[in-house]
């Protein structure tokens, strides 16, 4: 037992395979944040007046706010004047029209990350938008999607081509006043993805955005807006990586989803930002606001996330169930190892009648990490017959990691049914020995047990992503068992 325990406690630095730096010329704004910087970002992007005004309002509001401190995470104060708020690979004007115009160095970067942007390549069936630092560098399959009226494009392009949609929906789910990081994002966001699915259209392929932070001392503030009109369906995937750098980098994104009558949005994330080294040096601060509005009746939004990266994760993908009979789902695996900290969960806000929500959260803590689930289930006074089922399970590896659960339940309607189940277990030496006695080595045994623990969540992911997620789980915990 003593030897096994030692194996579990031993830390071998794990390989972060996405940790390389792309040597590319970049246009960056100097570090620092001011009204002037906000104006410059807007100017670089040639934005319409309404957007600049909105940014400035957000910025002025942000100045009045204080850093939130309620999360179960600890880090030195961020100096927002040390960060550069805009970095873009040097390029010809206006962004690439086709892949031929994309810098080959960038294409190689995504190739290395396993995201080939070549439309003829094997990724048939997944349309990709690639965001490198602050801008979108490649966007595939646009023409094919356009045939069905589907809009899938960089956010900055949508601002020009569909300003009326941006004006109508931007900030309608996450107002700039929502929280500290949402306000910051609203002031300085640079790019992201925009999706609009017209009435009655079922998007024929997975839409995917791949986020990559490359430049040093740069924040990434992307904004994603997805609108699914009546009777439409879309499945959207999001992946993220960053180089290994000694400094912490800030990532403060905002994602807004709007589902109209009977529309369905499935949003999947595999988050693998650089987590820092085994002593907690470097890594991404991932402070993200993600929220969906089930505006229409019988609409449905599912969030599925596999979170293995980032030094600190602070993220609560939520669903506001406004439409009657609407459905919200949240499936999450959060893995923390070494010195990582995660405070993640969801909010399910029941407003419409007969609304239902499901929350399945799996937290895995290894090393000296801290892993917290924080979830809110709120049932409003008019939400007759609301139902919620929440299950959060924690798996501990070694004896220096910690798992926390903070459930908040607020029910203002007597017809509501709210269930909450929670469990905490340790990966047991008996399980490991059993697997080893059947011929499996330690890493395979751990990977198998962990994947079994996460099965309810993994099976919600689209097939291509599920395989990636399973590999990532194994990789993230590599070294945590000797």
């Amino acid at each position: 037992m003593a030897e096994q325990k030692q194996q579990i406690e031993e830390f071998v630095p794990k390989e972060y395979s996405a940790g390389f730096i792309t040597d590319i010329e970049a246009d960056s704004l100097p570090a620092g944040l001011s009204e002037d910087i906000v104006r410059q970002i807007s100017q670089i992007k040639g934005e319409p007046e309404f957007l600049l005004e909105w940014r400035l309002q957000a910025y002025r509001h942000w100045l009045t706010m204080a850093t939130p401190e309620w999360a179960h995470v600890h880090y030195p104060e961020i100096n927002y004047q040390d960060i550069s708020y805009y970095s873009a690979p040097k390029k010809k004007t206006d962004g690439p029209k086709s892949l031929d115009e994309v810098d080959p160095e960038l294409l190689r970067t995504y190739e290395k990350l396993g995201v080939p942007l070549d439309e003829r390549a094997r990724l048939a069936g997944v349309a990709v938008d690639a965001v490198f630092d602050s801008v979108s560098v490649a966007n595939t399959f646009q023409d094919k999607l356009a045939e069905q009226g589907i809009l899938f494009m960089p956010f900055s392009k949508a601002v020009h081509e569909h300003p009326e949609l941006i004006k109508q929906y931007l900030g309608s789910v996450v107002p700039y006043k929502d929280n500290y990081y949402a306000a910051l994002n609203s002031a300085v966001f640079s790019d992201g993805s925009f999706v609009y699915i017209p009435k009655g259209v079922r998007c024929p392929m997975e839409l995917s955005t791949y986020f990559r932070i490359n430049a040093a001392n740069t924040g990434q503030f992307e904004r994603t807006l997805i609108i699914a009109d009546d009777d439409s369906y879309v499945s959207y995937l999001e992946g993220c990586t960053a180089p290994m750098r000694d400094e912490n980098q800030l990532h403060a994104a905002v994602v807004e989803l709007v589902a109209m009558d009977r529309a369905q949005i499935k949003y999947s994330t595999v988050q693998n930002w650089y987590p820092g080294d085994e002593n907690g040096k470097g890594g991404i601060y991932n402070f993200v606001t993600k929220r969906a509005a089930c505006r229409g009746e019988s609409s449905k939004v599912s969030w599925t996330q596999v979170e293995t990266g980032s030094a600190i994760t602070w993220k609560y993908p939520s669903v506001v169930l406004q439409g009657d009979n609407s459905v919200g789902e949240f499936y999450s695996v959060a893995v923390t190892n070494n010195m990582q900290q995660a405070d993640t969960g969801t909010k399910m806000i029941h407003l419409g009648k007969n609304t239902s929500s499901t929350v399945i959260s799996k937290g895995i803590s290894a090393g000296r990490s801290q892993n917290a689930y924080r979830g809110l289930v709120r049932v409003g006074p008019n939400a007759d017959n609301a139902r919620n089922y929440t299950e959060c399970d924690s798996l501990l590896m070694g004896d220096k990691s910690a798992a926390h659960t903070f459930p908040y339940i607020e029910v203002k309607n007597p017809t509501a049914k709210v269930e909450h189940e929670a469990s905490t277990s340790k990966i047991s030496e008996d399980q490991l020995f059993y697997c080893k006695q059947r011929g499996l080595d330690l890493e395979d045994a751990v990977s198998m047990i962990v994947n079994g623990f996460c099965k309810q969540v993994i099976r919600e992911l689209p097939m291509e992503f599920a395989v990636e997620a399973q590999n990532l789980l194994g990789l993230s915990l590599e070294g945590s068992v000797g």
Partner: protein
């Protein structure tokens, strides 16, 4: 096949095995009996390589190699199989997944290709008949919600699939009703062969009515104090273990 020489092992500084000597040839079935606390489970755990046991003296030669040099998974890949007294539950991992991973780990060591899904399913179905298991067991989580009998049958299924050279059955009869005991015993008997050695660890003589051993050894206070054939087990059944504990230390028959 297996030669245990003067094996001493301790747990937390307390000596549990105090000089075990045992030779098991290919094709033989040995029963090791003894009262609670005699060191029966320690012996099986030490042979399988479980952590937490300190080997203070002696050696174990298996197929000409020092077994104690190997990690548990290396022993398994070399054909040492332990049927657990308390098989572990692994939630979310389907039985078929574990069976396939285990078989392929052993095949990889043997230099064989991994079996594809169809060949594997054909093979596992044929083995399941042996222990009268329903196919639905393949898709349930490993041992989760299994009855005591189902767990033990699952162990024998794994043994049938992995075809070990040396199988150690640790209290395989415990917790079984008579019907389950029959099924498990028939499974084990079908797996007896000239190439395979079996060590059965049990507290009760009952199991030996169904799986008739070639040799019976009595373990007491960490030593084998008496060895004989199947008649020895019957004698024990009549007299109980009390006489064993009265034997002076260090005596072996």
């Amino acid at each position: 096949m297996l030669e245990i020489k003067n094996l001493h092992a301790s747990v937390d500084g307390k000596e549990i095995l105090r000089g075990i000597n045992l030779t098991v040839n290919a094709g033989e079935v040995h029963a090791i009996m003894g009262p609670n606390g005699a060191g029966k489970s320690t012996l099986s755990n030490v042979l399988a390589g479980r952590d937490g046991y300190e080997i203070t003296q002696g050696e174990v030669i298996y197929k000409g190699e020092n077994l104690l040099d190997f990690e548990p998974e290396e022993r398994a890949q070399r054909g040492v199989f332990l049927a657990f007294q308390y098989p572990v539950e692994i939630p979310g991992v389907s039985n078929i997944y574990l069976l396939k991973a285990a078989l392929n780990a052993v095949r990889k060591y043997q230099g064989l290709d991994e079996l594809d899904a169809i060949d594997f399913l054909t093979l596992v179905r044929s083995k399941m008949e042996l222990v009268k298991m329903d196919e639905q067991f393949l898709h349930r989580s490993v041992n989760e919600g299994f009855s005591g009998g189902e767990k033990k049958r699952n162990e024998i299924l794994q043994m049938a699939l992995l075809e070990p050279s040396l199988a150690i059955l640790d209290e395989t009869d415990s917790g079984l009703d008579i019907d389950a005991l029959k099924i498990v015993s028939e499974g084990v008997n079908a797996l007896r062969s000239q190439e395979r050695s079996i060590i059965m660890i049990t507290h009760y003589q009952r199991l030996l009515d169904y799986i008739v051993p070639d040799f019976v050894h009595v373990l007491s206070k960490g030593q084998i104090v008496k060895s004989g054939d199947k008649e020895l087990a019957k004698e024990l059944e009549k007299t109980g273990y009390s006489w064993v504990d009265e034997q002076p230390e260090g005596v072996s028959a």
